[in-house]
Amino acid sequence: MTTRSRFSARLDLENGRVDMSHGAGGRAMAQLIDELFKQALDNEWLSQGNDQALFSVPPGRLVMSTDAHVVSPLFFPGGDIGSLAVHGTINDVAMSGARPLHLAASFVLEEGFPLADLARIVASLAQAAREAGVAIVTGDTKVVERGKGDGVFITTTGIGVVPEGIAISGDRARPGDVILINGHIGDHGIAILSQRENLGFETVIQSDSAALHGLIADMIAAVPDIHCLRDPTRGGLATTLNELAQQSGVGMRIRETDIPVREAVSAACELLGLDPAYVANEGKLVAICPADRAETLLATMRAHPLGAQAAIIGEVVEDPLGFVQMQTRFGGERLLDWLAGEQLPRIC
């Protein structure tokens, strides 16, 4: 029996809206899942129609990671919540050195959300997953009353397999290690902010949202002994460096002049009184590796389209206090502290 025959009228993907019946578990929900989700995400696991996906995994250690995506606005230059939800979780999986295998996606929809927008988001999610070579193998949809949500929240959870011999973890940074980044920082956060009507600025900056597992695969092929990988998302580069320093019980010394920042990002930060080091990224990674492998790693990164602007930005040092210090353009030093309070609202 085809799914279509079960419903008397097709979903109105042009003018329809999510209503409470789409989350009640009955036929309206089944129709939403069949005509919108399954159609766009089309894979063997989803079409089985079970509440869980079954699959075999290659031998090895697994990783699992989850992220709720609550970005506002839902659509932004360079992506939308759909592609972001795929990239965000793939990256967290890949930062262990793992090859991402599968994703699960849970949607919380707000009553009244236009089905056309939902279809656009799901199409974008599907495309991002296809491009990344992972499947959304299982999912869930809930509907909350108007005023109890914000259009769409998407939680994705990913699993992946870590190749033999790889041991990447935030606690492995050692004094003497070198710190690299794969390109310009702050693009995602500034792209999101540029869509805030009340900030009222315009720029050509696009989100850097991207799936980094391909780049990472190249990197670990060239330098299996990468110590740490992490994507500097919320809280930006500064916060990620602090996390790693704290986890590893080391300090860091970063050179401001070596951090790639686009002029428009700098300019937007000047205008808003922000520091690019605290602005979110969605297609960036911080890598830490032994000093003698740094040039090889840098060359490998630069050879990949997502690492063309890669740079060595600093070194790991001994410091029981776990401080991240930055050499300013002037040769002075300042602390690159954790983000205090909130810098930017709702960026991932």
Partner: protein, 91 residues
């Protein structure tokens, strides 16, 4: 709190001096600002932008003058040291 940034005026919209606005550009980022405080600005001017308002025009000549003065203040030294890249030892 007194954060103010120089930006170039790329567009001026004049309707009523009290509510006139300009678009300014800073390194590829543009935003609309009120010019209620500097109604005389023209396209091409640089203005100091503070909380969405142009506060004042920036004088190109004075800026050059300041930079020139800086250069002079340090010229003697420059020559003495014979090497522009010499780094002053931080305190």
């Amino acid at each position: 709190m007194c954060l103010a940034i120089p930006a170039r005026v790329t567009h001026v919209t004049r309707i009523d001096p009290a509510i006139d606005t300009a678009v300014v550009d800073l390194g590829g980022v543009s935003r609309e600002v009120s010019i209620a405080l500097v109604p005389e600005v023209e396209v091409g001017d640089y203005v100091l932008v503070h909380v969405g308002y142009a506060l004042n025009r920036i004088s190109e000549e004075e800026a050059q003058e300041t930079l020139k003065l800086m250069a002079e203040m340090t010229r003697l030294l420059d020559e003495e040291m014979g090497n522009a890249d010499a780094v002053a030892k931080p305190a």
